[in-house]
C-alpha cells in the first residue's frame, strides 16, 4: 500500500496534477476533504492536552501520549498530502515570505506549521522515555526540562489549534463568491470559524476513544480504565450538543439572511442529486444530535457499546461536514447557466491518501511497540 501510494505521489509530483481527477471546478477534491477531516480528528491531541494540563483532568494522562502521537500523525500526514496537492510545492515557503495577512490560508499555514512543531516537541519526551534512550543522561535532563514546560506548550498548542481549526472553517466561510459556503460572522471571522473549532474539539476526544479501543482490541490488552473512556465520551457528547445547537442557529441565519442577500436561492443548493436536503438532516441530526445523545447516555449508563457507537457516528459526522464544505460547495453552480458537476477521485488520489494512512498506522505501531503510549497499560494487565 505504501509502495503503490509512493508511486502515485511520484506520478503527481513528476507528471503534475493531471494525474488526479480534480479539475477547474473541483479545484479541491478528495485530498482537501480528507485533510480537513484528519485535522479535525487530530484535534484530539490538543484538546486532551488542554483538558489535562490546563483544566487538570489528570485521568486523561492515560491517553495523552497516544493522543499526541495521533495528532502528530494526523497533522504531518495532512501536510504531506498538501505538499502533493499544491501545484508548486517548492514555492510553498513564499507564503512566509510574501504573506497575505488577509488570507485564511495564510493563517492556516502559519498555525499548522507552528502547531506541528509543538506536536513534535510534545512527541519528543514520549520518544525520550524509551528505555534505550533513557541511558543517555543528557536526554534525561532534556526530558525533565521539557516536562516543566509542557503546560506552556499545551497552552500554545491549544491556542494555535483553536486558531487554525477556526481558520480552516474560515477558509470556506469567507468565500463571498460561493453563497453555499459563505457565512456571516463576528468581527473578521465567519461563523464557520467557530463551528469548525467546536466540531473539532467535540470529535477529537471521540476519535481518541475510538483509536484507544481499536488498539486495545488489536493488541488484546487493556490500556485504560473504563472511567477514561467515560470522560472522553462525556466531554465529546456535551460539546457535540453545543455544536449542534450553534450549527442549527447558524443554518437558520444562513438560509434566511445570508443566502438571500447574495441573490441565491437556498432551495437551489439542494436541488442537485445526490446532494438533497437529506445532507443537511444527516449533518445536523443523524451524525450530530444523535451521536451527542448516545455519547451522553453511554457515559451516564456506563455502556461502552453506546460510547463507541456515539464516537463512531461523531467522527463520521465531522467527516460529512468537511465533505459538504469542500465538495458540495464546489459542486453547486454559481452561474445560472452552468451545469452541476460531480467528481470521482482517481486511483492516484486514493493511493496517495492510503499511503499516508499506512504511514500513520506504521508510525503509530512503532510508537506503540517501542514507546510508552499508555502509561497505565502495565498496571492494567494484572487484572
Amino acid at each position: 500500500m505504501l509502495g503503490i501510494g509512493l508511486f502515485a505521489i511520484g506520478l503527481c509530483l513528476i507528471k503534475g496534477l493531471n494525474q488526479t481527477n480534480m479539475d477547474n471546478r473541483f479545484a479541491f477534491g478528495l485530498w482537501i476533504f480528507l485533510d480537513l477531516t484528519v485535522i479535525a480528528l487530530g484535534a484530539g491531541a490538543f484538546f486532551t492536552g488542554f483538558l489535562l494540563y490546563i483544566l487538570r483532568r489528570d485521568e486523561l494522562r492515560a491517553v495523552i501520549n497516544s493522543a499526541v502521537v495521533l495528532g502528530f500523525i494526523c497533522y504531518s500526514g495532512a501536510i504531506l498530502v498538501l505538499m502533493v496537492d499544491v501545484g508548486q510545492p517548492l514555492r510553498a515557503w513564499f507564503t512566509f515570505w510574501h504573506p497575505n495577512v488577509h488570507s485564511m490560508l495564510t493563517e492556516v499555514t502559519f498555525c499548522i506549521t507552528c502547531y506541528l512543531a509543538v506536536l513534535a516537541i510534545e512527541y519528543a519526551p514520549i520518544v525520550l522515555r524509551n528505555r534505550q534512550l533513557r541511558k543517555v543522561p543528557s536526554f534525561l535532563v532534556f526530558e525533565f526540562e521539557l516536562h516543566k514546560v509542557m503546560p506552556v506548550l499545551a497552552a500554545v498548542g491549544t491556542f494555535l489549534s483553536f486558531f487554525h481549526q477556526g481558520s480552516l472553517g474560515g477558509l470556506y466561510g469567507v468565500l463571498q463568491g460561493r453563497p453555499f459556503a459563505y457565512r456571516d460572522g463576528f468581527a473578521i471571522w465567519p461563523s464557520t470559524f467557530f463551528l469548525f473549532i467546536l466540531s473539532a474539539i467535540a470529535t477529537g476526544p471521540a476519535f481518541v476513544l475510538v483509536t484507544t479501543w481499536a488498539v486495545s482490541k488489536i493488541s488484546s490488552k487493556r490500556l485504560v480504565q473504563p472511567s477514561v473512556y467515560r470522560i472522553l465520551a462525556m466531554v465529546s457528547g456535551w460539546l457535540l450538543v453545543t455544536y449542534v445547537g450553534f450549527k442549527g442557529i447558524d443554518t437558520l441565519v444562513w438560509l434566511n439572511r445570508t443566502v438571500p442577500r447574495t441573490g441565491a436561492i437556498p432551495a437551489q443548493f439542494y436541488a442537485w442529486q445526490p446532494f438533497g436536503t437529506w445532507v443537511l438532516f444527516a449533518e445536523i441530526v443523524l451524525f450530530g444530535l444523535v451521536p451527542a445523545l448516545i455519547l451522553i447516555a453511554g457515559a451516564r449508563r456506563r455502556s461502552f457499546a453506546l460510547q463507541l457507537t456515539g464516537s463512531l457516528l461523531a467522527c463520521a459526522g465531522v467527516a460529512l461536514n468537511r465533505f459538504v464544505m469542500t465538495i458540495q460547495t464546489l459542486a453547486v453552480p454559481t452561474l445560472k447557466f452552468e451545469p452541476f458537476m460531480l467528481y470521482w477521485p482517481s486511483w492516484q488520489e486514493v493511493a496517495t491518501f492510503l499511503a499516508v494512512a499506512a504511514y500513520g498506522v506504521i508510525l503509530y505501531s512503532l510508537s506503540f511497540r517501542y514507546l510508552k503510549l499508555f502509561p497505565h497499560e502495565r498496571d492494567l494487565q494484572q487484572y
Partner: protein
Amino acid sequence: MKSSANSGAIIKRRFGLVIDLDRCNGCGACATACAVENNVPPAFPEVNERTGLTWMRVYRAENGRTFPDSRTVYFPISCQHCGHDTPCVSVCPQNAVDINPQTGVVSQIPERCLGCRYCMAACPYHARYFNWFDPTWPAGMEKTLNPDVSVRMRGVVEKCNLCHSRWQVAKAKAAAAGKQDLDPADYTTACAEACPAKAIVLGDLDDRNSEASRAAKSPNAFRLLAKLGTDPKIYYRSNREWVRRLGDADVAQIESEASRG
C-alpha cells in the same frame, strides 16, 4: 523594476469590458484570439472542458423553453476583474494575485503562485484556470508565440489579465512620445479586436466619454451575479429580459447606478 516603470504619473483608470449579448453569435473568435495573444497552450487529448485553459470562455445558454420556442444566448466570460473585496485577491496566501491600482485590472503573478487553487474555489465566475499539464506546443509552433507574454508553467493558476502586455505596449508608446497617458486607440484587447460582431468593447468605465462607460450605463446593462457584491468591471447588456435574468442581474442595483451615474 517593472513596477517602477509602471508607476509614472499616470491618470488612474478603471478598465472594463462591455459585452453586447444581443450581438454575440457564439463564433468563438474571441476565445481563439485570446489564446493566440496570451500564449495559452492547446489541449492534450486527455484534456476536457473541465481541465482546459480558456481565459475567455463562451458559454451557451438556453431560455429553458422547448422547440420551437427555445432561444439561445452566448455568454463570453473572462475574468470579471472584481473591484470590491476581490475574492481571488483576498484569499491568495502569498499575494500572487493583485489589483493594479492604475488600471483596476486584477492580475495573476504566475511566478509566485503556489498552485493551491484556493482562488479558484473563491471565484464565482470560474474565470481561473489551473495548469494541470505542462504547456506544450507542437514542434516549431513556439515560433508563433507572442514575445510580450511569458509562458506559464505547470502547477500554477492563470486567467485573463485584460491583455496586460498590450496595455504595457500602449503605455510605452505614450511614454516614448512624452505623454502622460496612453491613447485609448492604442489599447484594445485581443478579444474585442477579434469579435466580428463588435460585441465586446474595452474602455475606461470612469471616463464619461468612453463608449464603454456609456454602454455600461445603458438601461439594459448588467453584471453577472451582481448581488454577490464583487463589483465586476465586465458589463453585459441585452434587451432580452430572460437573458438578463440568466445573468442574475440585480435590477435594483442597475437602476440605482443609472440614477447615480
